[in-house]
Symmetry: C2
Subunit: 428 residues, 2 copies
């Protein structure tokens, strides 16, 4: 059984029965994105929260699942359904002391989502999609994606014997495309923007009856993403941080981040919700502008190297803005140069190699410290959403060049003298 | 404290005191690679093996460490020494049912080392190097590497505030180089072969007194790698597989795989050692030839796409060949086309995207089934040593091409009809 009580439209508020065939609101149509509402009282009873908080908090570790499935009572999944064998979630949260020092801050943690099976946070959502597709007897899953959602869906599908059909805009980085193809997905490369790839996928999904993993349409995917917040709570020993920082494209990931804290709060597992800082790239910041103006977002060009968040027409603006506002958070935009600088800073102080969209979170944090949005004494968790190996071309823009030498020690000595003199004197 | 009893030379058998400054045998010189010998009786007592096997076996999970550090009594590391915060090891072992079916086999497991922090098995060795360097008060660590050892060292060093200097041959794939640079390593790109990069690193390490992470010289690195075998035992519920398959370059990884089973066997945790199949690329198979001929290896050209195992002059031939022989195993070479095919097969049946050297293991398994070296009813573990995202250029050679369309549903229908007809009829 699952603890879902019903679905509720984020636009008109209509209550929709769990199990209803359509993924969006029957009243509003495709604009009416649904929210999954749980019976929090029943969950609290089930996990033992109502008999003393500590027991509830310990129940997740007691499952023995080193993955997102340790949170089963909070997921729209029946425990008897088949799950992908891939180990999704329970990614490490690092106490980044050297990074904090570099930022002049007291306490900065980094959640490394790049070690998920297909190397991004999106695996959490795709795992839910694959489980629900299989449970519904579907054999083909589909989505449009700038990359990470796609590779995660293709990987999860492959691990469960499902076929996948993925729509990508032609500018998707090669690394992400290769993953899809190696996972055996049928990849449709659309000569157009992400928006056009999305529309074509929607038409095809409707026409051929595939399972729809488009995150802004399918209400269950945010439910997978929210497990990142569950883990943050557990891994911090239930000390809720002051801020969580995450980059924003379509708006689904930040919605998931909020939903996780929301669910734990309403079950009584935590006593407050952290403030959420949403970060977009300066060259594509429709939601930052909408947040500041209080008006509906305006479509934006997609001028940023951070392809995972280069979304000019975000599909989930309501959930995203709600997440920021309800958490008492804020939004900020950062230029590409700062994103590249953040990639180096993150890598050299923590050993975490993040894709640009992941490093954008850190660039946003640095800017938020500068502008006083976040105080340097506050505790902050930065979510590194994907692995830097996914986008080598941009890593190359961020990285210094190697020292080139012939195979001669004298040659080497001269080059080190010029470029890394400290290496010649700091052996011990 | 640690349970290391002494070191022993793999060439002349000399016993060397633990704590001796030189990394190789004082009698034989740099050719004398040392082996770390533990006091197995003391370990058995410490972990409770001698009071009943089950207690000993449960002690690892009881540490609560979801990483290689759960095996502390078996490591050349004092528990009080500082460790890298990165979460190394305890990678997933997948029961690959669809892959087994595709191979006509009964039971094939895949150990996905690509989800380590820097995306390869080498993190296990570099973590040990970083710990020992820091404990010895060193501030600079160095190595020569075709890629994975280097990026893992750079990542582990960054996470502990150590400087790293990495020597790479110029042909190293870009993905691996970018990782190093983002981690803040000083990268010396040597205009020459891996052999020449290695020699230059050795000269520089000696001259400037850096900590040496070259795996064939430093006896402690195999000790990190062996934890992959510890995990295989635990994750299979202590049912030792019939075979473990791993690709071979320098010979250090296969030596580590053997050492893990050896250590558990001699502590009484397992009752037999699995046979080990070592796989090299057909274009660079000096150790396969040495194994077959029974003679010392002859230097080989490095003609393979699998750059992590493109090692014409392997530095650890003795340990590697001992691993195969003492386990009752075998060696096999596979052509590059089979490696590329194995990448697709692995990805599409399991959702694991492996670099060519990792997929070489699977290609070797397929060949070993064909030739009867391994029976299809035997239980096999294939080690996927590194993430496919590290080498996108070769993934592209392995992958089919995407379907290119304009943003029109009719266009799409025609293309699917031609290239993926099953998608049009299998919606439910």
């Amino acid at each position: 059984m699952s603890y879902v009580r019903h679905l509720q439209c984020t636009t008109c508020g209509a209550v929709v029965e769990y199990g209803h065939a359509a993924l969006t609101c029957p009243s509003c149509g495709s604009e009416g994105i649904l929210d999954v509402v749980y019976d929090y009282e029943a969950i609290a009873h089930r996990i033992g929260c109502d008999t003393g908080r500590d027991m509830g908090r310990d129940c997740f570790a007691a499952t023995g699942e080193n993955s997102m499935w340790r949170y089963m009572p909070f997921l729209p999944v029946d425990p008897v359904w088949e799950r992908p064998p891939l180990r999704v979630g329970w990614t490490p949260l690092y106490n980044a002391r050297r990074l904090a020092r570099a930022l002049g801050a007291r306490s900065v943690f980094v959640k490394d989502e790049g070690v998920n099976p297909t190397a991004s946070l999106k695996d959490r959502a795709s795992a839910i999609a694959a489980v629900r597709a299989k449970a519904a007897g579907r054999r083909i899953v589909a989505c449009a994606s700038t990359g990470n959602a796609a590779s995660s869906l293709a990987g999860c599908a492959a691990s469960m014997g499902l076929r996948s059909c993925i729509f990508v805009p032609r500018r998707a980085p090669r690394g992400k495309l290769m993953q899809l193809l190696i996972y055996g997905a049928t990849v449709v490369s659309v000569d157009g923007s992400y928006h056009e790839a999305f529309s074509l996928s929607a038409a095809a999904i409707e026409r051929w009856g595939w399972y729809n993993r488009n995150a802004a349409i399918n209400p269950y995917l945010v439910e997978g993403k929210k497990t990142v917040s569950f883990e943050i709570c557990e891994q911090l020993g239930w000390q809720v941080p002051d801020w969580v920082v995450v980059s924003v494209g379509d708006g689904c990931t930040i919605a998931g981040v909020y939903k996780g804290f929301h669910d734990f709060y309403h079950t009584g597992l935590i006593t407050r919700i952290p403030r959420i800082l949403g970060v977009q790239a300066a060259g594509c910041q429709p939601l930052v502008e909408a947040f500041r103006s209080g008006e509906r977002f305006r479509p934006s060009p997609e001028n940023t190297i951070a392809d995972s968040i280069a979304v000019g027409v975000p599909r989930n603006p309501t959930k995203a803005l709600n997440a920021v506002r309800r958490s008492g958070g804020d939004m900020i935009a950062v230029p590409d140069e700062e994103i590249l600088r953040a990639m180096r800073l993150l890598g050299s102080t923590t050993g975490v190699f993040s894709e640009p969209a992941g490093a954008a979170s850190l660039a946003g944090l640095a800017a938020a410290f500068e502008s006083g949005i976040i105080g340097r004494e506050e505790t902050v968790v930065v979510i590194a959403t994907g692995n830097g190996l996914k986008d080598i071309a941009n890593a190359e823009r961020a990285a210094p060049s190697p020292i080139e030498v012939g195979p001669s020690i004298e040659d080497l000595r001269q080059m080190l003298e010029a470029r890394a003199k400290d290496l010649l004197t700091q052996g011990e």
